[in-house]
Every structure is written in C-alpha cells, then in structure tokens.
Amino acid sequence: MNEMITSGIEVSYLVATILFFLGLKYLGSPATARKGNAIAAAGMLLAIVATLFYQQVLNYSLILAGIGVGSAIGAIGAYRVAMTSMPQMVGLLNGLGGGASTLIAVGEFWRLMDAGLLPSMDNRITTVLSILIGGITLTGSLVAFAKLQELISGSPITFAFQQALNFLLFGGFVAGSVLLVLDPSNMPLFLGLTGISLLLGVLLVIPIGGADMPVVISLLNSFSGIAASAAGFVLMNNMLIVAGALVGASGIILTQIMCKGMNRTLTSVIFGAFGSSGVSAAGGHQSSNGEQVTRSIDPEECAMMLGYARSVVIVPGYGMAVAQAQHAVRELADQLTRLGVEVKYAIHPVAGRMPGHMNVLLAEANVPYPQLHDMDDVNPQFPETDVALVIGANDVVNPAARSDKNSPIYGMPILEVDRAKHTIVIKRGMSAGFAGVENELFFQDKTMMLFGSAKDMVNKLVAEVKQL
C-alpha cells in the first residue's frame, strides 16, 4: 500500500514536470501565454496535492493554515500591485522563494539533529550550499526591492574595502562549511554560516546602481530557482530539483539578454558600481556645452509634423511610464492612425526596469502587441521613418554609444533614432540620463526638443492632432 502511494506521488511529480515544461513553452508566444501560465499553475497544484500524501506529512492543520495565510497575502498583492511596480513585485517574490528554500535547509538540518540523527555527508554539503544560495537570494532580493521601491537610494552604496570584505566573508563561509561538514553537531557554527549568507546577499546588491536593476532582478530570479533546486538536493526530492533547474535556466538566459542589451558583462554589473562617478548635468534648457544649441518646438508645430508624416516611430522610455503617459500615448497613436499615418513602437531591450517591462506597460494601455517592435527589427527602418518621437527615453537613443569610445555607454546597442528624417524628443529639461551621460542627439540639426512633462505634452499633441 505504502509503495503504491509513493509511486503515485512520483507519477504525479512526473506529470507536474511535464505541465511545467508545457506551460513555459506556451508562455513563449503571446497567443498561448495565458494558457501556458494556467497549465504551469495546474502543475503546481498537482505537485502540492501529491506531496500531502507523503506518509511523513501528518500535521495537516499547520500546513493548511500556512497555505491559507500565504494564499491570501499573495492574492491581495497580485491584484493591488501597479504595473509600473512589477519589477519590485517580482523582486520581492524572488526573495520569498529564496527565503523558503533557506528555511527548508535549516529546518531539515534542525529536524535531523533534534531526532539525534547524523546527517549524511551528502546532506551536509547540500545543506550548506542551499543555505548559501537561498540566503543570498533572500536578502539580495529584499535590497533590490528596497532600491526599486525607493525605500533606500537607488544609487550604488559603496565603502572602502567592500570587495575585500565580500571575499573575506565568502572565504569565511567556505572555511566554516568545511568545519561543519566534518562536525555537523556544531550548531553555533551552523547559525553563523546562515548569518554570513544573509549578509552576503545585502553586500552584493547594495553597490549595484538603479540602471543595472533589470540584470539584478533577472539574476536573482535565476538564483531563486537554483535555491529551490538546492533544497531539492537536501530533501532528495526530484520535483524540487527539476522545477528549480527550469527556473534557474530561464533566469540565466534573461540575464544574458539584459547584459547584451546594455553591452555589459555580468561581472562588471556585479563588481562595477556603474554610474557612481557619473554626475548628472544640471536641469534647465541651457546646454552646458557652450557652442551647442538645441532647437525647441511647440506642441502645435510638433502635431503638424506628426500628422502629415507617412510613418512615425514612437520610442517610449521609463520616463513615460513614470509620468503615467502610456494611455495618452496610445490615444495619440490612434489619432495618427486615423489620419493614415503608419505608427510603430520601438522597444529597447532594457526599456523600463525589468526585461519586457515596457511591453507590459503598453499592453496595459491597450496597445496591440503586433505594433511593438524590437530593436533589431526596427533599426533598419529608421532611415525611411519620417518622425521618430522619443518620449522619456535618453540613454537608449544616445548616438555616443555608437561613436564615442570614451563614453561610459560606448558599445551599448541603441535605437538609431538619429537616422530618422526628423527626431522629436519630449523631455522635462536637459538633465542627463540614468547613466549620467550627456546626449548629443539633442543638439543635432534634425532633432527638435519639446520641453515639458511627458503626460502634459502628449495630451496637448492629442488635442492638436485632433484638429488637423
């Protein structure tokens, strides 16, 4: 009988694994993505129900209470969160997953010691690894959350001998791990190692600047998966190992895509403290470069240019999202389409604060996804574009990335709006972008600046275009 139950659980895990793979596969296409998410959720439900049948699982009231509390908090959070806050939400959820994995490793170790059982050699090693990865994921994610939520400053926090301290702590962790593996009964050492892993998570993320957060969130997403896998090694549970590995792999791939989008290596993100030396240029309409002048334009003239163009490419940046201008932008696009203008959106891979964030923000404003174009797709089309309209984006359209070897963003792939016949930039003032770099695009002959808040200006454009 017991054997039958165990086999049943294992078969259910196999089915759940297949559902996870299918779900993620369906998540890869806009038409089937929602179904994919539901399939993955069904796989999760199956795995949870199957687990309740393990014979060592007895305390159902405690388990169901935990699931009840967690479900309520999770559901409320999921319905309340604003789409602009999605990076924080995912960051926080990553951390909770990492926290759960750490607690599993700690709890299992404690259970074995309480029962007077000596953990096996394998178990000691996997427990230590699990605590390291899970602990870093937990506190690293919480710091990333605090930075994105602006509870703490988004700029890099650095201090003297920071790297040295990190290496010292890591070395201490490795040395302590060896001792613990040799003598697992040393409980203070065990707790000390847990403390070090939590401290390492904080120290690794605080020196990373706001501009690099998309990379950090992707990386921590990967970590949360690997942490779950590590917990699976502790418990020798295949379901945990496979599902965790799946998430670990997807996070690594997204991290690579993000790094490529910014032309940064992972090591330079983690150890670089990007932007710490960058000083923002002063606001105001005056250029700091004496001889360079910008041409400004008013909404009426801008509306004429847009309305009588054949093709317009809109380049939205995070500034647009912060100003909550996406609905107004959609309306502008609708009005232009009505006049027979071909409108497209060009999305840079790192637009927004996490991979694909801008796409979600535009989807929320009812922009149909076939109108959204990737960088590689849209860049060859700029020479044939009449007007490129840049709204709240800066570094991702800076031609210095292509031409100026001394620029900190040199080599970063950009949206080549300077190759369009005309470029209009909606911007509050002349301040530099996230990376703290001056943008020569603003001083080019073909570029016109429309100064003002994104929302106000786009609303004015809508009103003007309506009268055409």
Binding site: L24, T51, Q56, L93, L96, R111, G232, G356, V360
Partner: protein, 95 residues
C-alpha cells in the same frame, strides 16, 4: 558522493539544458510575464516546506517549515495571479 546524489545532479543538469532550450526563443514582449511565471514555478519550494513542516509534533523544524510554507505560498499564488493579470492585457487588436 553516493549514487543517489549523482542521479540528482544528472537530473538537475538535464532539466537545466531542457529549460534553456524551452526559454531561448521567447520574444521580448513576453519577458516580464515569463519571468514572473517562472518565478511562480520557483515557489515549488512549497512542497519542500510541506515536508519539513509535516512532522506530527510541533518542533523548531516544523515552525521553520510553517514560515517557509507561508513565504512559498505567497510566491506561488502571487506569482501565477500577477502573471495572469499581465497576460490578459496582451491583445492582438485594440479594443
């Protein structure tokens, strides 16, 4: 290293490779929902938490397990629901 752990490493490696293959071709439009969906899947830690919390008597281990259940459930439920909320906004035509 026991045979069991080698089998586990084997499974982990294959799952990683297969996962990378499945995710590799996802268009940028779906990167955020993909990440939050994958994030919900990493809440699979919940089943580990259930195993740790499930002991008959209340102990330090079961209390740690209980906290892990709460955290992992928030991860699972919040992750899947917020992903669904995002995906229902993706439309092919304007409405």
């Amino acid at each position: 290293m026991s045979a069991a752990i080698i089998t586990a490493v084997f499974i982990f490696t294959l799952a990683t490779l297969a996962g990378a293959e499945v995710i590799n071709k996802v268009p940028p439009t779906l990167h955020t929902p993909l990440m939050s969906g994958a994030n919900a899947v990493s809440g699979i830690a919940l089943i580990g938490a259930i195993l740790v919390a499930g002991g008959r008597d209340l102990s330090t281990a079961s209390i740690l397990g209980f906290i892990a259940i709460v955290l992992a459930t928030i991860n699972v439920v919040g992750g899947f629901l917020v992903t669904d909320r995002m995906l229902q906004m993706f439309k092919k035509k304007a409405v």
